[in-house]
Symmetry: C2
Subunit: 350 residues, 2 copies
DNA sequence: CTGAAAGCGCTTACAG
DNA sequence: CTGAAAGCGCTTACAG
């Protein structure tokens, strides 16, 4: 590994002080054109670029952001990460990705905080700001330990979290819209004549699930539709969960005629289950996915789903963080109103 | 933002020198039990943790890795990232994620290197090592500019790249197996009686596609099956590509009876296309996916696919990088022999 | 416009 | 076992 040239070598070879080299690099102070040209030539020659560790130490900014998520395999999170990294890079920041593997189930079992070690890590790395998406923050019951850790983190550096607001914690909280989409989807299904609409997937004890569930119940009641608890089948957010959850609904004496799948994974799993019962979507059962992961237009059947504007959300979040770091006015609130994209899986009037 | 305590404060409050504090922290030199206890108490009290920028500067290691990929939305890459980040974290490294957005198409148009700016960035951040997966390295024709940039990068720090070996470039190259899987899949389809097997998806000019294509042709020839060029329909690696590519095969006067989809995205898109032609998988057309992204067991039809052990590959790559950084013996070569998981989509003997 | 010097927060020979 | 001092690679008042 070749030792790197430092500003000292550049200064020497240019016949100037390191201060001058630093100034031509940063442009923060005037340098005579001749000197500047000479220095730039040497910089070119050695392909010199300042050590950001040293720079960060003195400038008190690392030009690095932390992004903390529970899981990268879930398309929701990878979309978030993709958009955020791109925008960060454009703004000259790099992002340290932290995948905590937090799951509500394992937390319930072990009680171990998956996220705290990452909080400390980003602090130690002197990141300029942190984005947290999902994880413990999505729990209905947030532990004091988490709250304290988050408070500590956010007292040191700007952090924006995608999730429910926790009182007295100095973060920016950006929340996704969980309710309107459910209302839209249910009303649409009702307009098609469905009376028994199932709720499929999502984890109990998770705020997203619980708030959607409540909306589901309220909306059903408003529309005077069947609100039997047997129509609700929770589990988690992945393919097998969709399969298992849908299966329960199919085994009912009087099965649901329509299903609300919490996301595309759930929907795909549900389609598989429905198929295993020799039933089909949408002929026998109408299906709407409440969080679009894939281009539903290429699934079979083409999936009716709610576009919840994940990319727009991601863009807002990174802009917000950057504005906090740079002390500029925050970006406008994005329009996150969910958009129901009607395709085949929801079927026609029954 | 509260100013952070430094080692100086800790030293003062403990009544020792910073050297001593440093030594209790690192354990690299003996410290008397009494002093140690006192210092540790103060460290506890302030929750002190050393500034890694300063530490990195002096230790010449940042405990940070760079991971460079073209795209995080593709499940292949997100799986890679997930496994690598987890393993890195366990080894006390953090990873800077770099998403270059490289695509062969945009490169062909603009000729712009998407990756070089990231190479420089990780160098500036003083990462201890870099993993590169996909991107320019997957091109059949690698540009001199890329080769030079990669050489420069790899001359400075350890880098392992997942992709074809480039002569004279000081990287570790780990290559996926592209050929055996194709052979296995084709032989299986042939054993079922298929004579016209289509090749669907993959981008021309990409080494992965071209090498698979060649294997496809050779294997077909060996088995004395139809090698008409019309059975090959390339495009790219995403859902719409699978759809479009499959469509071409369906419009043939004498359509293929089986299709080899380059990955699950392609397979799902192909299923959609087949369905649009009022045909079904596997009754009318047998389908095998050559790179498993999802749990094919939950798709409809259940997808027969090749497990290419992406996670195993990822684990090997991070271990290899760590061994290079830490100067320890490299890990054993992993078994990447592809595994054909036979489910419904490949059908039965025709 | 330019340089000498101090300092960012740490670690590690060196001396005791 | 412990501390004073030098140094990692940079930037920025300060003085000229």
């Amino acid at each position: 590994m070749s030792r790197n040239v430092t500003i000292i070598e550049i200064a020497k070879e240019s016949g100037v002080s390191t201060a001058t080299v630093s100034r031509v690099l940063s442009g923060t102070a005037p340098v005579s054109p001749k000197t500047k040209a000479r220095v730039q030539e040497v910089i070119q020659k050695y392909n010199y670029s300042p050590n950001q560790l040293a720079q960060g130490l003195i400038l008190r900014q690392s030009k690095t952001l932390g992004m903390i998520i529970p899981n990268i395999t879930n398309p929701y999170f990878s979309t978030l990460v993709g958009v955020i990294e791109r925008a960060a890079h454009k703004a000259n920041y790099s992002v340290i990705l932290c995948i905590t593997s937090f799951t509500a189930a394992s937390y319930r079992e072990s009680g171990q905080e998956a996220e705290e070690s990452y909080f400390q890590m980003v602090l130690d790395k002197k990141v300029d700001g942190v984005i947290i998406a999902g994880g413990h923050i999505d729990l209905c019951q947030i532990s004091d330990a988490y709250k304290n850790a988050l408070t500590h983190l956010a007292s040191s550096i700007p952090v924006v979290v995608i999730g429910q607001k926790i009182p007295d914690v100095p973060c920016c909280f950006v929340n996704k819209e969980h309710e309107k989409g459910i209302v839209i989807a249910i009303r649409y299904l009702a307009s098609l004549g469905h009376k028994r609409i199932g709720f499929v997937g999502g984890e109990p004890g998770i705020i997203i699930t619980e708030s959607r569930l409540q909306t589901y119940r309220t909306t059903l009641a408003q529309l005077k539709l069947d609100t039997s608890p047997e129509l609700v089948s929770l589990s988690d957010y992945y393919l097998p969960d969709g399969y298992n959850a849908a299966k329960k609904l199919l085994e009912l004496d009087e099965p649901a005629t329509a299903m609300l799948a919490m996301n595309d994974n759930i929907a795909i799993g549900a389609i598989r289950a429905i198929s295993d019962y020799f039933l089909s979507v949408p002929d026998d059962i109408a299906l709407i996915s409440c969080d679009q992961f894939m281009d539903g237009n290429f699934l079979t059947p083409r999936l009716t789903s709610l576009d919840r504007h994940t990319e727009r959300l991601a863009l807002h979040v990174i802009r917000l963080l950057l504005s906090m770091i740079q002390n500029t006015p925050p970006p406008d609130e994005p329009d996150l109103y969910p958009n129901l994209i009607i395709r085949e899986s929801s079927g026609r009037h029954i």
